[in-house]
Symmetry: C2
């Protein structure tokens, strides 16, 4: 049998089937391995990327040379460019604007062979600090309405370069699906005088069936209406609308929850391809004479990380309806992930 389930965060319906018990091995993905002879992200090859816009590096090292721990650079083949005007105009019934935006790469480690799940907590915290620094900097450009930090892990999830990295894209548009999510948070807050995600966290903790991990700082759950088996969300327990406002101490706690989650996923599903997306409030610009509904009061949002293993194909029905079919009840996904035994970590 199956159920329709409503996701109040994304405002989407999904179908979850539960006619029989499925095992993690049914979702193993054959991974394509990429061997690079000259990795553009390795130390010593800094000149193969555009000049760095942020780095955490030893004090004696020089910019754009070796000696870094984390390095943020503009994408060499950027989807969007930072210079120019939007030139927003209609073409009859259509609307268009120039591809203005930022497209950056955050190189997460100088070591080619390791993945994000292998990093020491201090190193992973540095990666999160790089996200924060780049978000804070790009927000100063008041053309940008939506900033997304995301990671593609594995060719199957869209990462042709195997050296571990994340990306940041800033665009002058609030995408409709993001508007829907912001609007849901806002409406809930106005109606209830409290945060949708805070209430959702309380419900999930009380229920327990979808909780993978709760260390008192961050909650890791499988969503009630997932689009994929083993889909996950990581929420700070303490309300905060904006990832970029998190302190170093909070980022360290988040690094611990994130690494533990990535290790569980890797252990259970043989290093599956995945994407993660950081959902944080839009920049709250003072825009003299340009009031914008979405950026006027973003404090009702609750930042979180969406983590989607890429285990199933998107076929015509999902493509046409936006309604996803998930063949693994999230209660089972959570139990499998909870039951993973991890070795002690440094």
């Amino acid at each position: 049998m199956s159920e329709f389930r409503w996701d109040p965060l994304k405002c989407t319906w999904a179908i979850t089937t539960n006619h029989r018990t499925r095992q993690p091995r049914e979702f193993f993905v054959e991974r394509q391995q990429v061997i690079m002879t000259a990795c553009p992200f390795c130390p010593g090859r800094e000149s193969s990327t555009p000049p760095e816009v942020f780095a955490i590096r030893s004090s004696e090292s020089a910019a754009n040379g070796p000696g870094w721990q984390v390095r943020a650079v503009p994408n060499k083949f950027p989807l969007l460019r930072i210079e120019g005007s939007l030139d927003n105009h209609s073409e009859g019934l259509y609307q268009t604007m120039q591809g203005i935006g930022a497209h950056e790469v955050i190189i997460e480690t100088p070591v080619h062979e390791v993945s994000l799940a292998d990093l020491e907590i201090a190193q992973l915290t540095s990666v999160l600090q790089a996200y924060r620094a780049r978000l804070l900097d790009l927000r100063l450009d008041d053309r940008f309405r939506y900033l997304q930090v995301f990671k593609n892990h594995g060719v199957e999830a869209g990462a042709p370069v195997p050296h571990s990295h994340s990306q940041l894209i800033a665009v002058p548009i609030t995408p409709p699906v993001i508007k829907a999510a912001l609007n849901a948070s806002r409406t809930y807050f106005r109606n209830n005088q409290c945060c949708l995600v805070c209430d959702l966290i309380a419900q999930e903790i009380a229920d327990g069936r979808r909780v993978v991990r709760n260390d008192g700082h961050f909650l890791v759950v499988t969503p009630y209406a997932p689009v994929s088996p083993y889909e996950l969300r990581l929420f700070p327990l303490h309300h905060c609308h904006d990832f970029a406002l998190q302190s170093d101490a909070e980022l360290t706690l988040f690094a611990t929850a994130l690494r533990d989650t990535l290790q569980r996923l890797r252990s259970l599903l043989r290093d599956p391809p995945y994407n993660f997306i950081l959902h944080t409030a839009p920049p709250a610009h003072p825009r003299p004479g340009k009031p914008d509904y979405w950026t006027s009061l973003p404090y009702d949002f609750h930042w979180h990380l969406e983590l989607v293993p890429r285990l199933n194909r998107i076929a015509g029905f999902e493509w046409g309806s936006g309604m996803f079919i998930n063949t693994m009840p999230p209660e089972d996904s959570a139990r499998h992930l909870r039951d993973v035994e991890l070795a002690d970590n440094p």
Copy 2:
């Protein structure tokens, strides 16, 4: 360089890059071939599917035996079931209902080896008649708010069984992306007293850059803001909200446009995996005491077919923002498809 482009039909933004001229061969997909020893859709194996709900078959043949041209059967492993009550209820912040719906398979030909693009026009017209018949029948069930006919071609597009077939899913929900599209049509109609798609067709014909084919009955265009290279839309020139109201003559004309389009795609891109989705108005039920905004007056919609070759991966940015990145300007896609020379067809 790239552009943001707004799709007024789907109400989404997409990014189209156009920094250099790309060739069709850059989008060839290595296809996985499936060999079946006992195909459940072949003539003589009718008992391996649930009993047929519709068939076009010779008058001397018996139901659920050989002698059919097109056969519609319930899916043997249905996602949804037709019996039962919705049991719509909340679980705290969540909403759920039972997986009530229809899930059918339309077997498009008795011949295992041929694809939809190979069918004779009369046979392809029979397939479209089967779509029409099943839509008309399932609409009698007034629980269903949204009915989708779709096709997955190739394993990569979600079709594990190679014998050519389409599917039909009926659900008791109007999915949010469908609501957005219906709403866009309705708003445009109310504001302009004419149909959005009719105006869009006029604009595309006048512009001409995205027109692949126009035979005076059906227009085939690449959308202004595509999510994929070589994405296509097929529109009837004559306004009609509902595919199921098309006459046999109109279906024959549509079969001609559809087969020609599929053949162009196959010739240009070496038989790419694809999905197509039939977008038609929701059933207009008289619902005593149950007024429903979406089904009350669907005549402002304009039915069409969305055809998406599956040539690129969905990565984190698209997944998180719903904003797709397309690396082939639709003006180039249309030109390549227009320039395909097809052999004479039976």
